[in-house]
Amino acid sequence: MTQTPAGLPKLGITLFSLTLEMRRSDYTLEGMIRRVAELDLGPGLEVVGFQSLRGWPNVSDEFATGFRGLLDECELVPTAMSMNLDLARRRDRRMTEEEALEYVERQMEAGKKLGFPIGKSAILSTPGFVEGLARIAERLEMRFGVEVHSPESVDSPHVAHLRELFDAVGSPLLGFVPDFSASMHDVPPSLVRAHRESGMSEELIALVSEVWHSDATMPEKFGRFHEEAGKLGASPGDVGKLNMVLTMHGSMDPRRWAELMPQVVHVHGKFYGIDESGNEPSIDHEAIMNVLVESGYDGYISSEWEGHAYTDAMSGYEVCRGHHDLCRRLLLQSAQTAGTSRAH
């Protein structure tokens, strides 16, 4: 595995990028991990427990031994275990705080057994839950991160509330996982292309792009989009797909991540495509890599391709290869600039 120089962020992948690849009839987890290693998409490996691991969070000793051995053999390093808090798994009621803690604890234990030093999941934003979570993290000697994903941003009330709760508990083990989806400057061209090919009208695509770029609050954007899409005669299915554009792509200035960096435990390098010049056309990776380098963050960035939600025209492996090349180039450039400015 190619490493980034010491002191810089490290690269990796989440197998979530390979969501379509895992649905093929010849899929095996082992084969996928070996392919990731062959393509030098590590050294960091993140998995979604409920996606990649049958029976999660039940992990047998035999499976854990095999999994750890395979990663060692492939020179891959387990980074974050992506978990879920299924608050509504019961039809009759939501989970209690105690049940939610147990649910997360079982997954943290399973992640630990597989060698992961970090768990990530959404949480209940109550003092009792956060205190319990800190105890679990301390007992297991793991860190825990809450993802900051669009439509959330460093400014959202939910994130501000979590920061207060984390401060109150004072555990260095609890923190955040920035997801680049919160800090985009355009609607992904790959998504526009896919919607156009699916037969959506140009007017509707132009409308969602214009509303996305407008300077308005999220509820105002939804309101305007619905009203004008209705006038264009958009089908409920198309409106639903385009709602996702407003929800899943945030427009925060990427430099704002700097405020969160002291509490960042892991990073989701969300992206939607790599263009012919090797850049991500909708996310300013240069600005983000500068923030990461300047903060001194030396944890992992998991390349997380989510274009599979609307296109199967690309290979998840290949597009992640392109993302690694982009991140590596920008990290080295940023380190060089930082070094030069320090020398003067």
């Binding site: 379509l20 979604v48 996606q51 029976g55 879920n84 509504a88 798994r89 009759d92 959404a122």
Partner: protein, 128 residues
């Protein structure tokens, strides 16, 4: 993209006075069986009564009404469920239009106490 896989390609089979097909999950991760909130099946514009559908997973067969309490049982994302639907007189050999809508509760995306419910429709022309 996963919506287009809801009906597994080539999975339609005539079975006496019924037919079966493979149902794949239009979501990226395993979900509890309690998450399968709805299933609507039409074949050649003939609507199959939902309470007559049977869903087999991991060697167990369920009616949709059996699923709500099964929040400890899992539908793994790589596994196709087999759906069996009654069809008086059986399914003639040859092509048919199968139209399936699945409603999936996403148990971790909860807004104001209410989980997101995805409704995904897949229509395919398949040979029995």
């Amino acid at each position: 993209m996963l919506t287009e896989q809801v009906i597994a390609d080539g999975s339609l089979r005539a079975r006496g006075d019924a037919f079966t097909f493979g149902l794949r999950m239009p979501w990226y991760r395993a979900l509890p069986l309690s998450s399968l909130e709805g299933l609507d099946v039409r074949i050649d514009d003939d609507v199959i009564a939902t309470d007559e559908l049977r869903i087999s997973l991991g060697g167990t067969t369920y009616a949709l009404a059996d699923l709500p309490p099964l929040h400890e049982e899992w539908w793994y994302v790589a596994d196709a469920a087999e759906v069996r639907a009654p069809k008086a007189g059986g399914l003639a050999p040859g092509p048919h239009v199968l139209d399936v809508t699945v409603a999936l509760r996403i148990p971790y995306i909860v807004e104001s106490g209410h989980p997101l419910v995805m409704r995904e429709r897949c229509v395919k022309r398949l040979a029995a």
